[in-house]
């Protein structure tokens, strides 16, 4: 036993000696390969947890109801059942829902990006005592859950006759509020603080006004902030069910998320009328279609993110001056 240990340790010391005798370039290459193996190992290990629910949805969306009921089939369906998707498309009334959702989420993403940038610019670039008060208010807004204020906000919108239109969701975004608007203000604030004062001063000496400095000098410098704000805003508004189902409850103006929530009852309504089937069979019929619905609701967000994160990589070379 001891001898064996000795042998192994000898082997390793020799290996290390061999490594030390290697040239600089080879050494670097070996270290690089070890680093890559480590990188992939860690990432794949972590990614497993994140990707699991996704795979779960995907496999269930492809199953027939017979597969779904079969306890022996967990992951791989016996046959691919594309019909789920067309059923889900019909049940969601996808074209109308998509139009509603894209207007709310794209509109509020654009509005939030612009107006949170304005507020964040003010907090990040200007000095004064008023700033700390505003900062406290912004953190307060971030802290308040939407459930606390939605009742009174609903009252305000009813008075203005805006229920079942896009306005209750778009209007707060116009003032830099809306879903987690305060977070976007903070993101912009910290990004603007990073930009060296020299940029600002140079532009002002050349005679640029405040709006020009903001839009043509500062905003291009914080492109990463713009990209993540836009992406988060889009995704969060797309996935929002709470506000959307409160303000736009009429069936014809609903966004996709409330539709997805109603999809269960949609199917059981039809079934109850025709056959009066029991709940277990109902579930078997509904559930795969429901997951297919989840997938087609998710898809546009995924596409936006894939394009967005590419932009994130392109924003590097913009910062020219380093303090």
């Amino acid at each position: 036993m001891n001898e064996n240990l000795q042998k192994i340790s000898n082997y390793f010391t020799e290996l290390i000696k061999k490594y030390e005798n290697l040239g600089y370039k080879v050494k670097k290459k070996i270290l690089f390969i070890i680093g890559r193996i480590f990188l992939y190992y860690v990432l794949i290990e972590l990614a497993f947890l994140f990707v699991l629910p996704f795979i779960y949805i995907f496999t269930k969306a492809l199953m027939t109801s017979a597969d779904y009921m079969d306890a022996t089939i967990n992951w791989i369906p016996t046959a691919v059942n594309w019909k789920n998707f067309s059923e889900a498309w019909k049940a969601l009334d996808y074209t109308v829902g998509f139009r509603q959702t894209i207007i709310t989420s794209l509109g509020s993403a654009i509005l939030q990006t612009v107006f949170c940038a304005l507020a964040g610019y003010s907090l990040g670039r200007y000095k004064g005592k008023w700033k700390s008060v505003i900062f406290i208010l912004v953190v307060l807004v971030l802290l308040i859950p939407p459930q606390t204020t939605i009742l009174s906000a609903y009252g305000i919108f009813v008075k203005m006759g805006m229920i079942n239109t896009f306005l209750p969701i778009l209007l707060p975004c116009l003032f830099g509020l809306g879903i987690r608007g305060a977070l976007f203000i903070l993101i912009y604030m910290y990004f603007f603080q990073r930009v060296p004062d020299a940029m600002d001063d140079a532009a002002r000496i050349d005679g640029a006004g405040a709006i020009r400095v903001f839009s043509q000098i500062m905003l291009p410098l914080v492109k990463s902030a713009t990209v993540i704000t836009f992406m988060f805003s889009f995704v969060w508004h797309w996935n929002d069910n709470f506000e959307a189902s409160t303000y736009m409850y009429r069936k014809s103006v609903q966004t996709l998320q409330p539709r997805l929530q109603n999809i269960r009852s949609y199917y059981s309504d039809i079934m109850m009328k025709s056959t009066g089937a029991d709940s277990l069979a109902q579930k078997a019929l509904t559930e795969p279609m429901l997951f297919a619905g989840c997938l087609i609701v998710m898809l546009p967000v995924l596409i936006v993110y894939i394009f967005g994160q590419k932009r994130l990589a392109a924003g590097i070379e913009r910062i020219g001056v380093i303090e």
Binding site: L43, L46, F50, F115, S122, I144, T149, P172, L174
Partner: protein, 295 residues
């Protein structure tokens, strides 16, 4: 001589009265003009509803009439303070939130540094770590609630009888330390993306400079990357704190919702106000403490 001074003073006076604001003053006014739209929105959509909720906390309310009722002063606050169970829950959930923050932020920074590297397949990993944000909303409730063999890693609840691989994983991941780690990882994807954006804005030249000076990757992380993204560490800490304070699965939020269901809006408002103030003060203390670290 005296006359000249007088003339100069008069001239200076004239100048200030013509351009009635100095350069510094003008900058302040500019800053305030930029924030005004937000302030208007704040008063309209946040301050007024909030004041109503403050008012509710001073009244005895009934199930039928949320904003009516009798004025009772600080009675509601006293009810909350007198309940020892509430205090215990508030303190516990507060502490557990604060424990979580460094873990979430540290993990997010670690993953973001890995994802910033250029390697084949990076895009796929970036998508994967964003999945928790995409899978939010109704889809999430479908995944965590009954009906489908619920994935209890995500809900953080106790194990339900699910079968197959999913069941094994959920029992493996449940309750224990591993389950909590899974939960925390799932929460950190917003922070990962913020860090990723911050890391992209670190000028590449700085790294080239220190590589020429012979710094290792480890050293350049501590001396270049971390100082450069320190504001975003603070931002992510703030967000992680807020996120865990107002999480619907937070015990305090559950109590507030239960109180609302029973109809005691006054007590609920009082509790949530005290909790909110505690959270706000904690965050502000954190910001003040870390201010020195920023520059």
């Amino acid at each position: 001589m005296k006359n000249e001074i007088k003339k100069k003073k008069a001239l200076a006076h004239q100048r200030t009265s013509y351009s009635f604001l100095s350069f510094e003053r003008r900058r302040v006014v500019e800053g305030i003009i930029f924030i005004i739209p937000w302030l208007v929105g704040f008063i309209w959509f946040v301050a007024i509803p909030l004041l109503l909720s403050v008012k509710t906390s001073f009244y005895q309310t009934k199930l039928t009439d949320m904003y009516g009722g009798k004025y009772i002063g600080f009675e509601n606050y006293l009810t909350v303070i007198k309940q020892p169970a509430y205090g215990q829950v508030v303190v516990n959930s507060f502490l557990s939130s604060i424990y979580q923050v460094p873990v979430i932020v540290g993990f997010a920074l670690f993953v973001a540094v890995l994802l910033k590297q250029k390697f084949p397949g990076r895009v796929y990993f970036r998508i994967i770590f964003f999945i928790p944000v995409i899978l939010a909303g109704v889809i999430m409730t479908y995944l965590t609630t009954e009906g489908i063999g619920s994935i209890s890693i995500l809900s953080g609840s106790t194990s339900t009888s699910s079968t197959g691989i999913l069941g094994i994983i959920s029992t493996m991941m449940n309750g224990s330390l591993a389950g909590q780690i899974g939960n925390i990882m799932w929460k950190s994807s917003v922070e990962i993306l913020i860090f990723l954006a911050a890391l992209q804005s670190v000028p590449e030249i700085l790294y080239e400079v220190v590589v020429i000076d012979g710094a290792t990757a480890w050293e350049s992380f501590w001396h270049i990357t971390l100082p450069y993204i320190s504001p975003f560490v603070i931002l992510n800490c703030i967000y992680a704190m807020v996120d865990s304070f107002v999480d619907p699965s937070n015990p305090v939020m559950k109590i507030v919702n239960d109180l609302k269901d029973v109809g005691s809006f006054g007590t609920a408002a009082a509790l949530s106000w005290m909790y909110m103030l505690m959270a706000l003060v904690t965050i502000l203390i954190f910001v003040l403490l870390t201010k020195r670290w920023l520059r």
